[in-house]
């Protein structure tokens, strides 16, 4: 046996899962798809005497259309999101981002909730979810709450989730009719690898083609994905070269890339500028297809 022995606890409800986690404290961990946790336990980088199996709870993997958005259950797999027709229609960049991860087997197993709770800085879904204004619903010992995704990531592998608190689902609100979002990912190693960086951008325009709402988020650069601040100056502007240059300078001030296997700090800063520019140019060229 390669994994050190542990007990797999199989709750029948979310409430019971929270109780198990609460009871065992640091000795227990919630297990979603297991694509990270099981591998890390196999490699003996981590060990928990108890794993709380969230797959044993019915109904956590659904994807539901609501009046104002799509609600994705925490246990929905990446593959399900990637191939779900309504998500491909409403949020093509999100389906694309989930489709970039690992390979088809990993996507068949890894879950949306696990992806966010793991909070690895190189994951693809956070940037598009940030520009789309997603929010996370949770259940913990203190009850349930909703956390805007922009307040969710707090550091390297760290989130706003409290002890024994679980993600229940992720809600992605429908965007305005005259809007579009893109996600660009740049790999410096193999295509199946984590990205060197990922850039998501969202643009809503009025009938005169002027910007009413612009959002930009970057992943892969630093300890957590970042939604760029202070873009209100773009309101009522056309995305011309001046506006784009000003935005690129602003983004450059806010990012703090670190060097890793996939690029040095210097390189990532240059690439961030290039890919944000490409994303904005794609959005400003498009006739707001939606």
């Amino acid at each position: 046996m390669t994994i050190r022995s542990f007990d797999l606890l199989q709750p029948r409800s979310l409430q019971e899962a929270v109780e198990f986690l609460h009871k065992h404290g640091d000795e227990a961990r919630a297990l979603a798809g297991g694509t990270t946790l099981v591998i890390m336990m196999k490699q003996r980088a981590l060990h928990y005497p108890y794993l709380v199996d969230l797959q044993s709870i019915q109904g956590l993997d659904g994807i539901k259309n609501e009046a104002d958005g799509i609600r994705i259950g925490a246990l929905a797999t990446h593959r399900k999101v990637e191939t779900w027709p309504e998500i491909r229609r409403a949020f093509p960049c999100l389906a694309q981002a989930f489709g970039y991860i690992g390979n088809v087997r990993v996507r068949q197993t890894a879950t949306v909730g696990g992806n966010l709770a793991h909070a690895d800085y190189r994951l693809d879904p956070p940037p598009p979810l940030l520009v789309l204004g997603a929010e996370v619903s949770t259940l913990g010992p203190q009850g349930s709450r909703t956390i805007a995704l922009k307040d969710f990531f707090s550091g390297m592998y760290e989130t706003a989730l409290g002890p024994s608190e679980l993600i229940v689902d992720v809600k992605v609100p429908f965007t305005r009719s005259n809007s579009q979002a893109v996600y660009l990912r740049y790999s410096t190693l193999s295509a199946n690898d984590w990205p060197c960086l990922g850039v998501a951008a969202y643009l809503a325009k009025n009938e005169n083609g002027r910007c009413t709402d612009l959002r930009v988020a970057l992943g892969g650069l630093a300890a957590r994905p970042l939604l760029i601040d202070g873009l209100t100056f773009t309101k009522d502007q056309i995305l011309d070269r001046d506006v784009i240059d000003r935005l690129l300078d602003l983004a450059d001030q806010q990012i703090s890339p670190f060097s890793d296997l996939r690029g040095t700090e210097w390189y990532k800063r240059r690439m961030a500028r290039l890919f944000v520019k490409q994303a904005l140019e794609q959005l400003s060229r498009s006739e707001s297809v939606k």
Partner: protein, 161 residues
């Protein structure tokens, strides 16, 4: 913790005692002696431990066997009928899409899942779907040809799957 589970492997129910920490790969190899399921990278990147779970490809090296109860597991051994090879296996042999063959079971199972899901997959879609199966003898061109040939075999005899 030890537990008794029933796994549905290649259509038959197998009752067995496992440990919660056992991976599906360990149970398939060590208890059921299904040698087509192979560990290589151990982290889900290479595809040599691929099995089908309810028809979809998964990496058995990091799935817990305890969580596989009640799901239909297919290994390469479940494709052939007696000594008669499955048509995807035939295609791999005819196109010589193997050299050392360590990766072949994973490729054949992934190809089966792909063709069941998308019978008319384009070359691009085949490449994309199989991108997570690695062949270090670098037989990729032959493998692509084998999958295309299997696609034709499947189309000419629609009852095949």
């Amino acid at each position: 913790m030890k537990r008794e589970i029933t796994l549905t492997i290649n259509g038959s129910n197998e009752r067995m005692t496992i440990d919660d920490a056992d991976t599906l790969l360990e149970v398939l190899r060590d208890q059921l002696k299904l040698w087509s399921v192979r560990e290589s990278c151990g982290v889900g990147a290479c595809g040599s431990c691929t099995v089908l779970m309810d028809g979809h490809p998964v990496s058995s090296c990091f799935l817990l066997a305890a969580r596989s109860a009640g799901r239909a597991i297919t290994t390469l051994e479940g494709l052939s009928e007696g000594r008669r090879l499955h048509f995807i296996q035939e295609a791999f042999v005819e196109e010589r899409a193997l050299q050392c063959a360590y990766c072949t079971p994973g490729f054949v199972l992934s190809a089966k899942a792909l063709l069941d899901e998308n019978p008319h997959a384009s070359d691009e879609e085949i490449r994309e779907y199989l991108a997570g199966n690695l062949c270090r003898c670098a037989g990729y061109a032959d493998i692509l040809r084998a999958v295309r040939s299997a696609q034709e075999k499947r189309a000419s005899a629609p009852a095949r799957s």
